[in-house]
């Protein structure tokens, strides 16, 4: 369980997050959406302990009962993996060496062929020996995803449920691979893990999210199920343009860009 209350944050003297409170349950996908610059990445960085929250009264930030700010990185790494919006790699590591970093950080045994299997799972079969720098942007993103999956290889760990925190995991991917990432996130959650991810695409959000957090100007404008948050009024307010949410009879809601007048 991820529990957040009264989470505020300032960087370089600017207040970027205001009194955020919500909780995310394992077994579910929690999607963070909102316009550019609304604080999605900053929120994820705060949730993972990368930047410290302002110590205001009532602040609470805990994962599986561990206070994020006070837990050793090594302990957190055993049940939580984080994918940043972009990752630059300093030296000519191969894909397999990158994935191994995740493997070494996570907990629990791993099959000897896990690295190859994970690379195949992100549709890079047999690519373990290739240098990371030779991959395209989308392929690099998938190598990083494989690393994160190697770290969170157990959806349920001895320390409680495993967690994936993903910042725009599909931003540089084509539609086939976007769906692949959604499938991976879904099966991680279905196996008992928790997923918190920043998403850009409202339709993907509508498709996979169990809970949606809608950010606007550093505040949580709304939270709830897809049908509670993805509404004309809320989206229009958050994104600053009229948006009409469509609804296909047999499936969930969808948003055509053309419907934004």
């Amino acid at each position: 369980m991820l529990e957040v209350a009264q989470l505020s944050l300032a960087l370089s003297g600017r207040r970027l997050l205001h009194e955020i409170g919500f909780s995310a349950r394992p077994g579910q996908i929690t999607a963070i959406i909102g316009p550019n610059g609304s604080g999605k990445t900053t929120l994820l960085r705060a949730l993972t302990g990368e930047v410290p929250a302002l110590p205001l009264p009532g602040l609470r930030l805990s994962l599986n009962g561990h206070d994020i700010a006070r837990t050793k990185p090594r302990i957190l790494a055993q049940f939580r993996a984080v994918l940043a919006q972009s990752t630059q790699v300093a030296f000519p590591y191969t894909a397999a060496e990158i994935v191994r970093l995740g493997l070494d950080a996570g907990s629990g045994g791993a099959a000897p062929d896990l690295i190859d299997r994970l690379l195949a799972e992100v549709d890079l079969p047999g690519a373990g020996g290739r240098p990371y720098h030779q991959f395209s942007g989308g392929e690099q993103a998938r190598v990083q995803l494989a690393r994160v999956l190697a770290q969170a290889r157990q959806p349920v760990t001895p320390e409680g449920p495993g967690w994936l925190f993903l910042d725009e995991p599909v931003a540089s991917l084509d539609i086939g691979h976007q769906l692949m990432v959604m499938r991976i996130a879904r099966s991680f959650a279905d196996a008992g893990g928790g997923v918190v991810m920043v998403l850009h695409d409202l339709n993907l959000t509508a498709m996979v999210a169990d809970q949606v957090l809608l950010m606007h100007a550093g505040r949580l404008l709304a939270q709830g199920r897809v049908d509670q948050v993805l509404t004309d009024a809320l989206l229009g307010q958050a994104f600053g343009c009229p948006i009409r949410v469509g609804r296909a009879p047999a499936s969930g809601p969808w948003i055509l860009p053309q419907s934004a007048a």
């Binding site: 055993q78 630059q88 300093a90 000519p92 590591y93 191969t94 970093l101 070494d104 047999g126 290739r130």
Partner: protein
């Protein structure tokens, strides 16, 4: 409408994989290389004592007095010093590069060596002012530790100057390094004017960068710095690998980033300081060795750190042989040899990085 044939999606080819030898094989080859270079080095020298005459003595067999002195008091300490200094320089290069996440960070280039040099010169010149009791107590450790502190100061300052929020600006790193090196050089120059004749001899000899004048005592003076550095370095490997993805990723991979970086700074300064204190400014080992190893054996610090030490030792012993034999019976300062080998490699790295953002 004409349907275009769908281009086949390019699949990652196994054949494009790097043909890297296993780390164990590389390490084994490097050990053999170091052994070979060491043996040849023992058999090279102005005295003209051959390998065949030297080797039996190593195993305790009779040797005439002169040969024994040459072996035990000249060649062996010089070989040992070469190994220790080469290993330290290459290791501190690999560590500094990992810390700054950039293959151009070399203790010599970014001014850490100059800072260590300033510390050493301070100790040589002002050490004479110490009360005899204290001077006797610090003994041969004074210069190495002063060099360590000088190197530490520059490394910390560099980090402050060139790194913001975990991102190192390479331009700032190199330029700040130039400024710090220039400042340390100027301060060193002032101190040299203050030096008396005996100190001046120490200084000139030292500033050329040389293994000449090697002695067991000198080696002993530097060991309290080098041994802890060598022992601590392997513990940094996993952290430096994670740090290659950036500070935030390293944190999420379970690394205590600040503590790890602090240890890396101390180990780098200790290894550089000790090397500079005993051998003066020997450049480029710290950049050439890790670069070659990353290229041919891979960047994994768990292998890179020990392999850098091995190759650095072998390279410096070989360079020392060249320095001793090329203008025999005189000898070239070894820094000239390493610069001739190293500067082109540095330019080669620069060219390869042309066009990358921020170098």
């Amino acid at each position: 409408m004409v349907a275009l044939p769908l281009p086949r999606r390019p699949r990652p080819q196994a054949s494009r994989s790097l043909p890297r030898p296993t780390p164990r094989l590389v390490t084994l080859l490097l050990v053999l290389l170091l052994l070979a270079v060491s043996v040849i080095s023992l058999g090279t020298g102005a005295a003209g004592l051959r390998l065949t005459e030297i080797l039996p003595a190593l195993f305790g067999e009779g040797l005439d007095r002169r040969a024994e002195v040459i072996l035990w008091d000249i060649r062996l300490p010089r070989l040992a010093l070469g190994i220790v200094v080469g290993a330290s320089l290459a290791l501190s290069g690999a560590l500094l590069q990992g810390l700054f996440r950039n293959p151009l960070a070399d203790p010599g280039i970014v001014g850490v060596g100059a800072g260590a040099g300033l510390g050493a010169v301070l100790a040589i010149v002002l050490g004479g002012l110490l009360p005899p009791a204290i001077a006797a107590w610090t003994g041969l450790h004074l210069v190495p530790f002063a060099a360590f502190l000088g190197g530490l100061g520059v490394t910390l300052l560099l980090y402050r100057l060139a790194t913001r929020g975990g991102q190192t600006s390479v331009a700032l790193l190199l330029l700040a390094g130039i400024a710090l090196a220039a400042f340390a050089g100027a301060a060193t120059g002032i101190l040299i004017y203050m030096a008396d004749d005996r100190q001046l001899r120490d200084l000139t000899f030292w500033s050329m960068g040389s293994l000449a004048g090697a002695s067991w005592a000198k080696l002993g003076g530097a060991l309290p710095l080098i041994l802890p550095a060598m022992i601590a370095a392997p513990f940094l490997a996993r952290g430096l690998n994670a740090l290659a993805l950036g500070e935030a990723q390293a944190l999420h991979l379970g690394i205590r980033v600040q503590a790890m970086k602090r240890l890396a700074v101390f180990v780098t300064a200790a290894a550089t300081g000790a090397a500079v204190a005993v051998s003066g400014g020997i450049g480029f080992i710290g950049i050439v060795v890790p670069h070659l190893l990353r290229l041919f054996a891979g960047p994994d610090h768990r292998a890179l750190l020990p392999q850098s030490a091995l190759l650095g030792a072998a390279l410096l012993v070989a360079a020392d042989m060249i320095a001793r034999s090329i203008v025999a019976p005189a000898e070239l300062p070894i820094g000239i040899v390493t610069a001739c080998l190293g500067a082109p490699v540095f330019l080669w790295i620069l060219l390869g990085r042309r066009g990358l953002t921020g170098l």
